[in-house]
């Protein structure tokens, strides 16, 4: 089998410990690093993501595949230095001030990373200003906010307002999520999107990045 297909297939089969070896072999066979990335690693992860969305596989399967992908990516990174490792986008993520719930946010972070996004996770109990500061400092185009308490949802509004006040609206998109948060709430506060679970978050963030590009 074509070595690149073999890399993709090993991700799909959850053989994460084989990926680094196969990437090394591909390099020895003089495959271009960018091809290994796109037609091997990313192609494999796309299939995994699709199977996950269709609920054919579960979250741990995605995490195992992602671990394999990162093992391969580590080998490619130095070689891709000139082109740079292409990123699906950069996102700043956190649970808003007053909210210590971070399990859902962590899952979203894991899935976004698995889908090739650069994720800057600010943790829990994060004040509005830190989200916007971090987005500006690191050139993120998306801010992801998580709230599990009805009492902390208003902080999301503060972030949206701050993004506007700093003239970043349109360039920095805000996506919100968490059990009490809905599509309607996102509209009400002027956020750009709402996501209801980790796979959905990936789809929504992808769409935001695509719309912004």
């Amino acid at each position: 089998m074509d070595i690149l297909k073999e890399i993709a297939a090993s991700l799909e089969r959850g053989e994460d410990d084989r990926v680094a070896g196969l990437v090394r072999q591909a390099l020895e066979e003089r495959c271009a690093p960018l091809d290994i990335l796109n037609r091997g690693l990313i192609a494999g992860m796309d299939v995994v993501g699709e199977q996950f969305r269709k609920r054919e596989i579960f979250l741990p399967d995605v995490l195992i595949a992602a671990r394999g992908m990162y093992a391969g990516l580590d080998l490619l990174k130095p070689l891709l230095a000139q082109e740079g490792v292409p990123s699906a986008g950069r996102i700043v993520l956190g649970s808003v001030r007053g909210d210590l719930h971070d399990i859902g946010k962590n899952l979203v972070a894991i899935m976004l990373k698995g889908a090739g996004f650069d994720v800057l996770d600010l943790g829990a109990d994060v004040p509005a200003q830190r989200f916007v500061d971090a987005a500006q400092e690191h050139g993120a185009t998306v801010i992801g906010l998580s709230a599990l308490l009805t009492t902390t949802m208003p902080v999301m509004k503060e972030v949206v307002e701050l993004v506007r006040a700093r003239g970043l609206a349109g360039r920095v998109k805000v996506i919100v999520g968490g059990a009490p948060v809905s599509e309607a709430w996102a509209r009400e506060i002027g956020a750009d999107a709402h996501g209801y679970d980790a796979a959905n978050a990936v789809e929504r963030v992808r769409a935001l990045v695509a719309a912004g590009a």
């Binding site: 579960f58 979250l59 210590l100 399990i103 009805t150 009492t151 208003p154 009490p180 679970d197 980790a198």
Partner: protein, 486 residues
Amino acid sequence: MRPSLRLLDAALIERILAEARDLLDSLGVEVHNPALLETLAGHGARVDRATARAHLGAALVDRALASAPREFRLHDALGRETHHFGAGQVSFTPGSAAIHILDGETGQMRAPVTADYIRYVKVVSGLPHLASQSTAFIPADVPSRISDSYRLFLSLLYGEKPVVTGAFTIEAFELMKDLQLAVRGTGEALREKPLAIFSCCPTAPLKWSDVTSQNVVDCATWGIPVEFISMPLSGFMAPVTLVGSLVQHAAETLSGVVISQITRPGAPVLWGGSPAIFDLRYETTPMGAVETMMMDCAYSEIGHSLGLPTQAYIALSDAKALDAQAGLETGIGATLAALSGIDSVSGPGMLDFESCQSLEKLVVDDEICAMTQRLVRGIEPKDDFPARPLFEELLREKHLLIARHTRRHLRSEIAFPGPVIDRANRARWLEEGGLTLGQRARREVARLIEAWQPSALGDGVKRELVRRMEGEARRHGMDALPEREA
């Protein structure tokens, strides 16, 4: 004989507790509360200030377990005893702190408001098998920063039953304590007759946030009972095996007992929790899963083995409507909880992973509670031996409808349900409208609201509650509280 369920044998309980103690000693708990870390150090914990870890040795844990009360009582707003925890009673309270309410008219989940909360208190006031209210959901028509204390305010203003509640911030505790003081008069009176239980959550794995740990300290200081709500999520934030999750639950809960008891020895606590498995397929924390319920019953056995009264989030459902799933999950949970002798069962009314309350479900669940409470009274002989005289009477009279034996034992032996449980034959059922469960439940909700009588709390106390709540609302930029009906 009281029927009971056992999931763990003595050796397994001992091993789970030994492993939990080892975790507390070797790995320690993270405590994000510098003052509390110092107190812990002062009581002999090995504290690493850089990592905020407190290692709790055997002596400290033993002292805490020795001073934690084996039993304590709860009293309603008028000072009447309603609960005696640790005496073998099983009592039920509505699931607390939902985000949504299931609108009985539209069948839609929506954000609740003040009027919904008042209707809720009226319904709970009339339900005989719910011995306490809980602050069941968060009204969305007041500023979010006062919405946790506001529900306690409404509960104390409209209802007499004691309240299971909790603060969302360190600051909110102050007013929530003041509201209780307004009812009881003095701190001493409140300590003597606790009026509310506060839920305080450690964060899995083995961690206490500043908010929830400070809530434990503040409650202990004021003698307000605490239920620890440890929430291992099996396979995600805890081992996938039920035993592994139980070890984690025991370690987190023991650390809570330590925090409470070093603050004030003898402070009342419930060995509680809300563990759940993690459903990987949907990224959810199902409360209606049988494994979740098994963990609840098992940790209650562990708590009882330590001599502590227990609490659990069980007898609730993940369904999105008052449907068969809601009934079966709630029914199984309530039955297992009662057979396990869980002292305080939090759950009735709740749907959708602890996030939605339903008044209609509450009246149905009250019937479930009634059935389980009957179940645990068990089967006891009552004037049954010798059997011959009664059977002679039956053969003679051809029935026992008006026999002295029947009249004496009918009401205690057979628990007749209220109108939401259908026991009519089909013709009678049709004649009475052929109502579905949902329709019967709605009618019962309306009846209870109509039948509600104002709390007998003195007008002076009610004015004081309003004064304190309005003061807090003003501090948060709200000139007047939302309109309230009588």
